[in-house]
Symmetry: C2
């Protein structure tokens, strides 16, 4: 049965471990692609165009916006970041499940354009666990930790816009659950229109 | 993490094997309950009140309707059939995933009352496979088979109202997939309000 890939949006509290979960998912299971964002920010040392980001000038980025070539975009710290439509739709057409890590405004834009997209929100098992994770890193100043906790307070209000929560209690369990949630979406009615139409036509022909 | 059970509605083409799938699911996995319908039809030999059905007089059934004690009901062949709210809600409160086998009108009523309900539509792998199943039984007359195929034609138009399809290609695979689909719903945002509120309150308190 031929079917297109699932578009997966992953959001979650700053520091909850989204990056680690996604890297492990791709390492452990086949059939996934990570979306690569377009940005106007300058490449850092070691970053390659088309790998970490697609690097663009502001003028190019503005043209991409006006040509509707981005499924969502936002401006942070005076730089634009966006998700190129082409790359996402090519992966889906090839049957790959494509994963986007974006925050809530972007997630809602995706859901509006792709109603069958799967919106996941990664949560810590408790508030204390989140604070612990942020503190344990030991690499960030008290102010950075404080800023992240403040951001978490705002992020906490958007959870109800998502389809499922993913509790990061244990990395492997969490990754397996994410895989299971995505695999289930393959059976969503909207992802099987071709098959449904085929069987329906056969039955109506009796 | 305490959470309530999932309300699962199973519909599908007449003859597709819904009953067999559900019986096998309950035999193979724990945590499920089958909904027991209320009816005004007379008990048949060997049927026990509260097992196959809850048997009621027409007057009792009318009172149940007027007291909003049924989550859905319909009239077939001059008898009423309905799903008692109490039984369904008790099982969900106990954390049991409760399964209702009903047709599309009932399924839509359930979805309107319980937006987090999971609506599954069981499909054959092909139109021919469905016809084959109906013919292979060998117990039904050509007219009965014909009537079932006619019913399937009408049922085929409602598939888009469901959340997921369940393809009955192989019984064990199909049962495992049904279990997986239901288990995934445990992580739906609407089924985790208590946990989400707890973590949100903790984070906001920092």
């Amino acid at each position: 049965m031929k079917r297109k890939g699932v578009l997966v949006v992953v959001s979650g509290f700053s520091g909850v471990g989204k990056g680690t979960i996604m890297r492990r998912l791709i390492e452990k299971y086949e059939g996934y692609a990570l979306s690569i964002s377009a940005t106007t920010r300058a490449p850092r040392d070691g970053e390659t165009d088309g790998k970490e980001y697609f690097f663009h000038t502001r003028e190019e980025f503005r043209q991409m916006i006006s040509r509707d070539e981005l499924v969502e975009y936002a401006c942070y710290c005076d730089n634009y970041y966006g998700t190129p439509r082409n790359y996402v739709e090519e992966q889906m057409a090839r049957g790959k499940d494509i994963i986007l890590e974006i925050e809530i405004q972007g997630a809602l834009k995706i859901k509006a354009k792709y109603p069958d997209a799967l919106l996941l929100f990664v949560m810590p098992p408790s508030g204390d666990a989140l604070r612990q994770r942020l503190t344990d890193r030991g690499t960030e100043s008290a102010e950075v930790i404080e800023a992240r906790l403040e951001r978490a307070k705002a992020e906490a209000d958007g959870i109800e816009s998502y389809d499922y929560i993913l509790v990061n209690d244990n990395l492997e369990d969490c990754v397996d659950r994410m895989h299971e949630l995505i695999r289930c979406q393959h059976w969503q009615v909207g992802n099987n229109e071709e098959f449904i139409d085929k069987v329906r036509t056969e039955i109506k022909g009796f």
